[in-house]
Assembly symmetry: C2
Homo-oligomer: 186 residues x 2
């Protein structure tokens, strides 16, 4: 079940470097793309950084709306992640094509993609120079959610044989998030 | 054995979101810190983005030298990663304290930390505004290296029971990079 994650803990949804889906919406049009280059940027208020290439339909929707969601897909969605990363929303409605369930976000117009492990609702922090020069967007996280079967009590708790978050290597190659390691101080 | 990775493939060393060590050096002083908030930014020329907090000794060394290395630690270095992230280089020489082996980089003054899975030599791309406002540094990758026991022929190839890269959740909690998944297009 999707439950709210405190803003103070929202960085933990991305801190381990999972690949993501970025969803966007503006004036009745919407899109979803795959994005591996997303990372936390600050704790309080929580912010993140995301690369959104200049020629994408997502870029147009994000620049027009000033909003997007970052959805964290699972091992069960690796094929979907590859698929939405391989087509342009200018050519096809990916929500219809891939039968995506969506739920409305609480604070932004972009949707939350169903079946994901976590979701962050984001408002762009204006930094036009780095968007133009580097395709880099900074955003404040205004709400965060996670599937409580996978994340609860402030951390990811994956079952040995259950779904996990995924990390993109290249093309259609991913790694599942693996074994938990507790480090000790020397 | 440490072998060169082509600049065109260097993004693959970070694309899956591993946590990193950032090493720096200036005028005979050097430091190493833990940094989870590092991601690729561009393919050609390869660039990356990294958050380096304003109050750190690393920040001083990076701003003074305009250079740093990003080293990718392994499961065997989780304790070390926690340790170097828990002390300031202003107070202690972490290289001596933790008996770190280092090798010289090819193009930058910052060292390469021994025992890591991969290394990226970086030169800061001047974007002073986002450094001041967001502690965010952009850098061009000018050389890249990987341990050929872990990365070869253009991708990570972890043995089932061997060392892997690690992903930071919070505090001393990490995940190992897990099972390889090949996605298929629908």
């Amino acid at each position: 079940m999707r439950r709210a994650v405190s803003l103070a803990h929202s960085y933990r949804l991305l801190n381990h470097g999972p690949t993501t889906l970025i969803a966007s919406s503006h004036a009745g049009r919407r899109n979803v793309m795959a994005a591996a280059w997303v990372m936390p940027l600050d704790f309080d208020p929580p912010k993140l950084a995301a690369v959104i290439a200049a020629d994408t339909w997502t870029r147009e929707l994000v620049e027009a709306s000033g909003e997007f969601t970052v959805c964290v897909p699972t091992t069960a969605q690796a094929d979907l992640t590859l698929a939405v990363g391989s087509l342009s929303g200018r050519d096809v409605d990916k929500f219809a094509r891939f039968h995506l369930d969506v739920e409305p976000a609480a604070f932004v117009s972009a949707p939350l993609v169903g079946g994901c492990a976590a979701w962050l609702e984001c408002r762009v922090v204006p930094e036009a120079g780095i968007a133009e020069r580097h395709d880099l967007f900074l955003a404040e996280v205004v709400a965060a959610w996670a599937d409580d079967a996978l994340y609860r009590d402030g951390e990811w708790r994956f079952a040995a044989d259950g779904p996990r978050t995924i990390h993109h290597l290249k093309g259609g190659l991913f790694f599942a998030t693996g074994e938990r390691i507790r480090a000790s101080k020397p």
